[in-house]
Symmetry: C2
Subunit: 226 residues, 2 copies
C-alpha cells in the first residue's frame, strides 16, 4: 500500500522530517512537488488535495488526506512500523516531547520567526523600530523561554543518543524541525550552549534515511526571507 | 489512584480544560494553586514540581509529573476512561484536530496575543506604531490564516455535536482553550461567522463537568493584560 506525498517545492517546507520517516520505515511513496507562490504560501493547487492547502500532506494508499506532521508520523508508525523500529521506549516521554515540539516550541518559534522576517523585510528606516521591538520581545519573553526550554531538552536527552532513548522515536522526528529552524537561523548556538543537542543533530544528519529524504525533497534551507 | 494537579491561580491558565476532563472522567484529584508572579509567569515554586514550572502539570498517583496538556489528556483517557466515554470515533481525525489545536492554532494565537498585549501595554505614543505593525501582520498573515483555519474547523464539526463525532472526545477538550481565547479576546465573532463552533461552545459551557471544573479552578477569564 504505497502512500502519496504532495509537498510544495520551496525550501522552507516542514516536509523533510516526514520524508526522513518514510525513508526510515522503507515505505514506498511518491512525492508530488508544488511550487509556492510569491508570498511564500502554498499554492492554490494544494487545496485540491486538502482544503488547508499546507504542506506536508500525506495521502494514504486508500486516498485519505492526512495533515499535521505529528498525526502523519503517528499514522506511518502505526501502519508501517510493524517491527517496532521507532517504538516508544516510554510512551509518556515520547508523547510529551512530541507535543512539546509543536505546542510549546512552535508558538515560541512563530513569534521569533515573525520578527526575524520582519527585521529583514522592513524598509529603512522603519527597520530600526522593528529591530527595537524585537529586542524588547526577546528581553521580556523569548530569550528566557528559549533558554528554559532548551535546557529542559538537553536534560531529557541526557546520556542517550535519542530523545526516545536507545533508539530513534517519533519525538526525535518531530523535534528535528523546530531545532533545525533555531540552528539554521542562528537563534541558538547549539555547539557551545547545548552540546548534547548539537551531537544529536549530527547523528541525524549522518543517517542514510535522512540523506535519502533530502534527495527526494527539494532542499532544506530554513533561511527563507533572509 | 488519585492524581494531584498543581496549577497556578491566575485566571489565564490553560488548566480549565484539564479540570474539565478530570471531572468528565470522575477522577479523584487534588488541586494545588500557585500564585503567579507579577510578570504573569508561573511562580518559582512550580519549578519544584517540574523544571519548566508551567501550568498545567499533572502529578500521577505514583508521583510522575506530566506536562503538555495533550499528553495529560491522553494519559488521563488511557488510564481512567475504561468505559470509553471519550473514545475516538475516528482516531486519525481526533489526532489531527488535537494536533491542530496546539501546533497550528497555537503559533497563530501566540503571534496575535503578543500584539494584543503589546497594543494594550505600550505607552503612548509608541502604541500607535505597535498598532500599525499589528495591522500589517493581520493583513499579511494572521487574518487569512484565522479564516482558513476556522472555516476548516466549522466544516470538520459539520452536523455533529462534537468534533470527535457523536460523543465528546480528546480533540474537543484540547480545542476548547485556543477557541475560547479567540472568542473571549474578541479576535473572532463566532456567533456571526462560525455558528456551528458557537453552538459547540455553548454545549461545552452547559456541561456539569465543565461547571465543576470552573469551581475547582480559579476563574477562567482569558482577558489578562487588557
Amino acid at each position: 500500500m504505497p502512500a502519496s506525498f504532495p509537498t510544495d517545492s520551496s525550501q522552507n517546507s516542514q516536509s523533510q522530517r516526514i520524508l526522513w520517516l518514510l525513508e526510515e520505515l522503507g515505505i514506498e511513496y511518491k512525492v508530488s512537488h508544488y511550487a509556492r507562490d510569491k508570498g511564500h504560501r502554498a499554492p492554490p493547487e494544494m487545496k485540491e488535495v486538502q482544503e488547508l492547502g499546507k504542506s506536508p500532506i500525506l495521502v494514504t494508499g486508500d486516498g485519505r488526506a492526512i495533515t499535521e506532521s505529528t498525526t502523519i508520523a503517528t499514522y506511518l508508525i502505526k501502519t508501517y512500523d510493524t517491527g517496532g523500529k521507532l517504538a516508544s521506549e516510554d510512551w509518556v516521554k515520547d508523547d510529551m516531547l512530541t507535543s512539546f515540539a509543536g505546542a510549546t516550541l512552535g508558538p515560541l518559534a512563530a513569534v521569533e520567526l515573525l520578527f526575524d522576517l520582519a527585521s529583514n523585510q522592513t524598509p529603512w528606516p522603519a527597520v530600526y523600530i522593528m529591530r527595537g521591538i524585537w529586542k524588547v520581545v526577546k528581553k521580556q519573553f523569548s530569550e528566557a523561554e528559549f533558554k528554559k526550554d532548551l535546557a529542559y531538552l538537553e536534560g531529557e536527552l541526557g546520556e542517550n543518543e535519542w530523545f526516545n532513548g536507545k533508539n530513534l522515536g517519533k519525538c526525535d522526528i518531530i523535534l528535528s524541525y523546530p531545532i533545525d529552524m533555531m540552528a539554521q537561523r542562528k537563534w541558538v548556538d547549539f555547539e557551545s550552549e547545548y552540546p548534547r543537542i548539537a551531537a544529536w543533530r549530527k547523528r541525524i544528519e549522518e543517517r542514510d534515511a535522512w540523506k535519502r529524504g533530502l534527495e527526494k525533497g527539494n532542499g532544506y534551507s530554513l533561511l527563507f526571507g533572509s
